[in-house]
């Protein structure tokens, strides 16, 4: 700790709570409260109910949850593969080539996601690349949006990876592909799982590009929440949001467990 005196520590904690609670904790708690409410006209909600959860975990919402999960898992796996591949390939490039690749992969993050959504829509609406109206266009857009994060976190880890492991392996007679599978990727596993978690979380929450692209039979959860609140069903929307939040956190927790095991080996 940087603060040493006792009162200083208390003050630091107090400032932390004053800033943290209203900014981060309260909005989430309000959503949670709202999801159990039938009526919220005064300062506090009233009419406790679990009815919204019945709606949020069945029918269209359940369908949307599955859609979101499939989209997020596919997009993050694709992004991880493409991003790691590019990051590994970038190490053998000269500086200028690497800068170019960095810039290329950062582009989808720098550009607003609405623009990315529109770009994907325009690009893939005509044969021979006709993806519009299918689930693939949603997965593709998500992949494009999250690959940047996979690329940058994996390439940061590669820079930190000591080349001596690779060289020791090579001197023992391991072909480059063998070194990749047995040495590099296992040593990069913590970074890979971190990147996977990040990509998954981003994809689960993606709304703006998805709005422009989703076909009627492929409605991810954020779209469902938006639709519910848009037609005034605020509390149902809140329940769906809690389901989205819970599912995402659960998956991230699982990924984090894999990661600690990988980094402790």
């Amino acid at each position: 700790m940087l603060v040493h005196s006792r009162t200083g520590k208390w003050a630091a904690w107090a400032v932390f709570f004053v800033l943290f609670v209203p900014l981060f904790a309260v909005p989430l708690l309000v959503i949670l409260a709202a999801s159990f409410t039938t009526n919220w006209s005064g300062a506090f909600p009233s009419g406790p109910t679990t009815e919204h959860y019945a709606a949020a975990t069945g029918g269209d919402s359940l369908q949307a949850l599955t859609t979101s999960l499939i989209t997020a898992v596919s997009a993050s796996l694709l992004a991880l593969t493409v991003g790691s591949w590019a990051a590994l390939a970038a190490t053998s490039l000269r500086r200028r080539g690497r800068r170019f690749l960095d810039a290329l992969f950062m582009l989808p993050v720098a550009v607003p996601s609405v623009v990315v959504g529109l770009a994907v829509l325009v690009a893939f609406s005509k044969p021979p690349m006709l993806l519009n109206g299918t689930r693939w266009i949603v997965i593709l857009a998500h992949t494009i949006l999250v690959t940047a994060f996979a690329y940058s976190s994996v390439s940061a880890a590669i820079v930190r990876l000591d080349p001596m492991y690779e060289q020791a392996a090579a001197s023992l007679g391991a072909r480059p592909s063998y070194v990749l599978w047995r040495i590099k990727l296992p040593l990069l596993l913590p970074a890979l799982t971190a990147a996977a978690g990040l990509c998954f979380a981003l994809s689960m929450g993606e709304l703006s590009a998805t709005m422009m692209l989703y076909p009627p039979d492929w409605t991810p959860l954020p779209v469902q929440i938006f639709a519910a609140t848009d037609r005034g069903s605020l509390f149902t929307g809140a329940a769906v949001a809690v389901v989205l939040m819970g599912t995402t956190l659960l998956v991230l927790l699982g990924v984090a467990r894999i990661r600690t095991r990988a980094s402790y080996r």
Partner: protein, 363 residues
């Protein structure tokens, strides 16, 4: 499957440059099968670069590298069949000890049934059989180094490259590992070892021959005894054993040189009269008191080293080092003392570019 069955390393005019900066300049050196060759030099002398050229991690700008009679200059590292151990061990942190040792065998597709036996044998050789199930992070530095050696030896290489293998260990562990390496070499008499170090004790103890490197060039090469007793260059004399180097002029008479106005009797060999030369005398061969080749001067510094006293004596502006058996009375700074040395303990070297004043590096 054995690595490079034919041992021996040969450098043929090997030069390495990084962006116009020559870090290894036309190295010619042969390591015989079964020989331990130490590459000794200060940092930046090119010794590690030479080792990495054998391993295949640096590509020579010119010249060829041979393993046995095989030209490996253009070969990628994994096709060279060498064993390598580096200063930081480089054990794979995600693998247990036995998997680390088995790595090279699996990578080379050794027969599956043979692997456990070879791993056990290699671990036995370095006394680490009891640690096969551990992860590298659960081992001490010395144990990790043993595993690294076992891993390199498991592939039965014809050539073993050791890059400062003891530098990361503390002094006590280092002398133990040094004995261990000497024993390993006796048990594996066919393996050629290229041993890179900046530590002259390691080189003198372990090597059959020492190649002294400085400023990207090979300065000298010979057996430890030759280099220590009969160094051929000033650099060797000062780097190996930290000798006194005194600028002298060869006198016309037989076996006499002139040092700051004094006549000293030393074997001059074929040096011509009137030529400038450098006189090399080991500090521990310098005695205190009057005798042949007496040099008197004032004490500039005294270091007590337990069993010895190191005196630095100013003789007409030249600093002479003397290692004396522990003195009962420590001489005081500024005292005038007389030093002497026997004629047969001195070696006359051709004058180099920078005549040493004997001040050199305090070792």
């Amino acid at each position: 499957m054995t690595g490079g069955a034919t041992g021996g390393i040969r450098f043929d005019q090997v030069s390495v440059a990084y962006g116009g900066n020559t870090v290894l300049d036309r190295l010619d050196l042969t390591v015989e099968p079964g020989e331990v060759m130490a590459l000794l030099g200060p940092s930046g002398s090119g010794k590690t670069t030479a080792l990495r050229a054998v391993a295949g991690f640096v590509q020579p700008a010119s010249g060829r590298v041979y393993l046995g009679d095989r030209d490996v200059t253009g070969l990628p590292p994994h096709k060279r069949g060498i064993g390598m151990v580096v200063q930081q061990y480089a054990l794979f942190p995600h693998m247990r000890v036995h998997d680390n040792v088995a790595f090279g065998l699996k990578a080379r597709k050794a027969a599956k049934a043979e692997i456990p036996e070879r791993v056990a044998e290699a671990l036995e050789l370095v006394g680490m059989a009891a640690y096969a199930e551990r992860y590298p992070r659960e081992l001490s530095g010395g144990q990790q180094q043993r595993v690294a050696i076992a891993r390199a030896l498991a592939i039965r290489p014809g050539v073993l490259l050791l890059d400062e293998p003891l530098s990361a260990l503390d002094a006590r562990l280092r002398s133990g590992m040094l004995a261990e390496l000497a024993r390993l070499h006796r048990e594996l008499p066919d393996v050629s070892i290229l041993y890179v170090t900046h530590d002259q004790v390691e080189a003198l103890t372990l090597a059959d021959r020492i190649a002294v490197m400085d400023k990207a060039r090979l300065q000298d090469c010979g057996t430890p005894q030759e280099l220590y007793r009969r160094p051929r260059t000033e650099f060797t004399a000062s780097f190996v054993g930290n000798a006194n180097l005194l600028p002298v002029t060869v006198a016309d008479g037989a076996d006499t040189v002139d040092f700051a106005g004094r006549a000293l009797d030393v074997p001059t060999g074929e040096a011509a009269g009137g030529a400038t030369a450098t006189l090399c005398v080991r500090p521990h061969l310098v005695g205190l008191g009057d005798g042949p080749n007496a040099l008197s001067g004032t004490i500039a510094e005294v270091q007590w080293r337990g069993s010895t006293h190191r005196l630095y004596v100013d003789v007409d502006g030249h600093r002479v080092k003397a290692d004396l058996r522990e003195l009962r009375e420590t001489p005081a700074l500024g005292d005038t003392v007389t030093l002497h040395f026997a004629a047969e303990d001195a070696v006359l070297l051709p004058a180099g570019t920078a005549p040493g004043t004997g001040g050199g590096a305090h070792a």
